[in-house]
């Protein structure tokens, strides 16, 4: 049977929380209705409450929306107005919903302390805003660490006119991570012991067996106090990775008829996990990134960072099941689902691939990659933490390293995907189908360092935690700014700016891909052009939940020129 949106709302409003999963994520999903109904009721009710979540044979505590994890699919249409009433049924804590990637007035953006006061326990709040865009987005709590506990769900906005992306059937695929450990405990453990969740470290046994780094390389990394196996802070040692709220053993299946063009709307709603997504036996045509259409790119695998969305088209022509594999970046586990012509046709999960090791390039100092003619040794400071490489940074305990030679890595596959074979999506593959709305040259440049200390688990922008920052990062309304993010750490940082799309500077002129979240690879840098066109205050942060919680967040303010 197929749940329609109004049925989901009925379940929610009746408070009859018998269903563990929303209809769109049913164990066997026939897919969403081919022509989703226009939202006639523009009133949607979302109820936030504690619940249990069954993963495999285990019951885990969760915070769900309308009784499910993920929450219901909010399906909207471009051009409509929407009223979303959020009811906080949590007994003793505030909540909120941030509409990730949706352009709206700042006071409806849902970040407590920046956009609004938050939603107190036992109270409700109605968000009202017009829908001015289309595509695949998502929503999640911006209060405390609730997102880690299941407080997220997908948003699909249909275009006002015909959808430029043709497809016969669609599935929403929400990837996430869930732990039986309370998120506050996870954070505390990260602060108490570096590498607490990493059970893929280099060992003496591994060295004797000839695995991983050789002795000289190990000594070199040991001298730097850097662990090349530190790929993910929180791993499969505590996480189960989910497809639409289901663990690998729970078997989510999306149905198709051979020959159909199937649109998969991927959302990475994980708190701390970057996924490598592939469907062995099928090539994927990437048709949208962060909700907006891109020129189709055919790939075998793509990496999806926290909070990104990708739409892909697959055309399975055989009458067989295909495994949908979303492997955690550190290969400590995978989310697994099935695409099949009939329910009950199992696909075989491939074994986990060997976990990658960080390289010198991930620390922003790969001399080999440089053009020898460009090297001017006299002006280079190759120390790991040299003040001269970023004179403006406060060189305190929160800064472990400063990348001496950060490289633009937007043309490189994500960490660990350089040698997996097949075509892997890179950011430079993304080209917007529509011409960019603002084609002006930037009138200002801004550089922001992503800084951290893995041993103390401190994370910040420019070495200052939000708790230490007084002023926002100021913008004048309408100005065009070229912003470069420099990753001074060995970890990935998916950076999200609220209320805006920005254009990646990746060589595609006025067809630059427009994104709301962008992953800056370890030791790398990335540049985008931003038109600060949404007046108000906006959150700007790393979408690794515990990096944000540790302080890797600031406020961006946009004010009319007259007021400046």
């Amino acid at each position: 049977m197929t749940f329609r949106r109004r049925d989901i709302l009925k379940i929610g409003s009746a408070g009859a929380l018998t269903a563990c999963w929303p209809g769109w994520a049913a164990a066997v999903s026939p897919g969403l209705p081919a022509a989703p109904p226009t939202v006639n009721g523009t009133d949607i009710e979302l109820r936030i409450a504690h619940q249990m979540l069954r993963i495999g044979r285990r019951e885990m505590h969760a915070i769900g929306v309308n009784g499910t994890v993920p929450g219901p699919l909010v399906r909207l249409r471009e051009g409509q107005d929407v009223r979303l009433t959020v009811i906080n049924d949590l007994p003793d804590e505030d909540t909120s919903i941030h509409w990730h990637g949706v352009l709206l007035p700042f006071q409806m953006d849902g970040v407590p302390g920046i956009s609004f006061p938050g939603i107190k326990a036992g109270s409700r709040f109605t968000y009202r805003f017009p829908i001015r865009q289309s595509g695949t987005y998502w929503y999640h709590s911006h209060s405390g660490l609730q997102e880690q506990m299941g407080h997220y769900g997908p948003i699909v906005i249909d275009p006002a006119g015909a959808d430029p992306i043709g497809y016969d059937r669609e599935h929403v695929v929400v990837l996430s991570d869930h732990s039986p450990m309370h998120p506050h405990t996870i954070f505390e453990r990260l602060k108490q012991q570096g590498g607490y969740f990493n059970y893929q470290k280099q060992t003496l046994a591994g060295q004797i067996a000839g695995r991983d780094q050789g002795p000289a390389e190990r000594r070199r990394w040991g001298k730097m106090r850097m662990d090349p196996t530190d790929i993910s802070d929180v791993t499969g040692s505590t996480y189960t990775y989910l497809v639409n709220g289901r663990g690998p053993a729970d078997g989510w299946t999306g149905l198709f008829r051979p020959g159909e063009r199937v649109r998969l709307r991927f959302v990475n709603a994980a708190a701390m996990t970057i996924f490598n997504v592939r469907i062995p036996g099928l090539r994927m045509l990437v048709v949208a990134a962060d909700g907006l259409p891109v020129r189709p790119v055919e790939v075998d695998e793509f990496q999806i960072a926290n909070a990104e969305t990708y739409d892909v088209i697959v055309v399975p022509s055989e009458e067989r099941a295909f495994g949908l594999v979303a492997e955690a970046i550190d290969r400590s586990g995978m989310a697994f689902g099935t695409l099949a012509p009939r329910p009950g046709m199992p696909a075989i999960a491939p074994p986990l691939r060997h976990r990658p090791l960080a390289t010198m390039r991930d620390m922003g100092m790969d001399m080999a990659a440089m053009d020898p003619d460009m090297i001017d040794m006299s002006s280079m400071h190759m120390e790991m933490r040299d003040r001269r490489n970023a004179p403006a940074l406060p060189l305190g305990p929160g800064i472990q390293t400063i990348s001496p030679m950060p490289a633009d890595r937007t043309d490189e596959p994500g960490q660990g995907l350089a040698d997996v074979g097949g075509k892997v999506l890179v950011y430079t593959d993304l080209i917007a189908t529509d011409r960019n709305p603002d084609r002006r040259a930037p009138s200002r440049k801004l550089e922001i360092h992503l800084t951290g200390n893995m041993e103390r688990y401190m994370w910040a922008f420019d070495g200052r935690k939000l708790s230490e920052v007084k002023d926002p990062i100021p913008f004048t309304a309408g100005e065009r700014v070229r912003i470069t993010l420099i990753n001074d750490t060995m970890m990935n940082h998916p950076i999200h700016l609220h209320g805006h799309f920005f254009e990646l500077v990746t060589g595609h002129g006025d067809h630059a891909p427009r994104k709301h979240t962008v992953n800056v690879q370890p030791g790398g840098m990335l540049t985008f052009d931003l038109t600060a066109d949404a007046v108000g205050d906006w959150a700007f942060h790393c979408h690794m939940l515990y990096h944000m919680h540790a302080g890797m967040m600031q406020v961006v303010s946009v004010r009319p020129a007259a007021a400046a």
Binding site: Q107, Q133, Q192, Y196, R225, P437, R439, A441, G509, R559
Partner: protein, 281 residues
């Protein structure tokens, strides 16, 4: 898909590929370099945008919470690196070495304790230190405070100052200087290394050296290196926080301290088999 670009823009004359081959293609959009005369950043606004909508009174506590929740948390940890029974020929005792901290990333209150005792007797050596700890670099904390001796014999009070941190090659190190209420100066250096054999089996060599700047006869401490302690412990991390271990510990009085021991009829050196749990919470 987003307003401002509803496909209504004029023909794409500026498209890179459409330029005549004889002239270099004009750099458009994100390919264009920034303007020659860059504008400075505006000054940060004096207001908070949300105050105008929801009221400053409603926003102030939420904003305070926002800042506290993103980098301002206070946490704590209590860790016993050593908590063990020491078995020697004819005598069993126990030994501990642990610390607890409370605070944020930079400023912390630290309580340390170490000592050893035989079952049923007053501790041979026992001390607690209460310290203010401040992060002074990515890996090191400066710690200052007081130490109180609690064991058998003279119970001195000391001012204590030291540095604790992670040295290159992943050595955990600690160095402290103590000045007693009698003006005596002592020092201690401690280091250990966790050699991971498998993901959960860890071999920890550990060394502790005690030094003195003068003879302190009433405490039976001699000038120079006074005692050395070496340990080798093999633990199994059932969880990171709970790791039973077995090992050997060897300690020896050195130099003038050894002379004091000889005069007192006490053994200068001894070896023990140790059984313990490394634990934290």
């Amino acid at each position: 898909m987003v307003p401002g670009d509803a496909g209504s823009s004029p023909a794409m004359r500026a498209g890179g590929g459409s330029a005549p081959p004889s002239t270099p293609p004009e750099k458009v959009g994100t390919d264009a370099p920034p303007l020659d005369r860059l504008r400075p950043a505006p000054p940060p606004p004096a207001d908070h945008a949300a105050d105008a909508v929801w009221g400053a009174a409603a926003m102030a506590p939420a904003r305070e919470r926002l800042h506290r929740d993103h980098g301002g948390m206070r946490l704590h940890q209590i860790l016993f690196n050593l908590a063990e029974i020491q078995v020697r020929r004819g005598e069993e005792g126990f030994r501990w070495d642990g610390e607890g901290w409370w605070g944020g990333d930079v400023n912390r209150l630290v309580l340390k304790s170490e000592g050893e005792a035989r079952f049923g007797r007053v501790a041979e050596a026992a001390e607690v230190q209460l310290l203010y700890s401040r992060a002074i670099g990515p890996y090191h904390d400066l710690q200052a405070g007081v130490r109180q001796d609690l064991g058998a014999g003279v119970r001195r009070t000391y001012a204590s100052i030291g540095i604790e941190g992670l040295a290159p090659y992943w050595f955990e190190t600690e160095g402290t200087v103590f000045v007693s209420d009698k003006g005596d100066v002592l020092a201690r250096a401690e280091a250990w290394y966790d050699q991971r054999i498998t993901q959960r089996l860890v071999l920890q060599p550990r060394v502790e050296l005690n030094l003195a700047a003068q003879n302190v006869p009433e405490q039976r401490i001699g000038e120079g290196l006074s005692t050395a302690e070496l340990g080798l412990r093999l633990r199994y991390e059932i969880r990171r926080e709970f790791a039973p271990y077995v090992g050997v510990a060897w300690d020896r009085k050195v130099g003038i301290t050894a002379d004091y021991a000889r005069a007192d009829g006490i053994a200068r050196g001894r070896v023990a088999a140790v059984f313990g749990v490394r634990g934290w919470l």
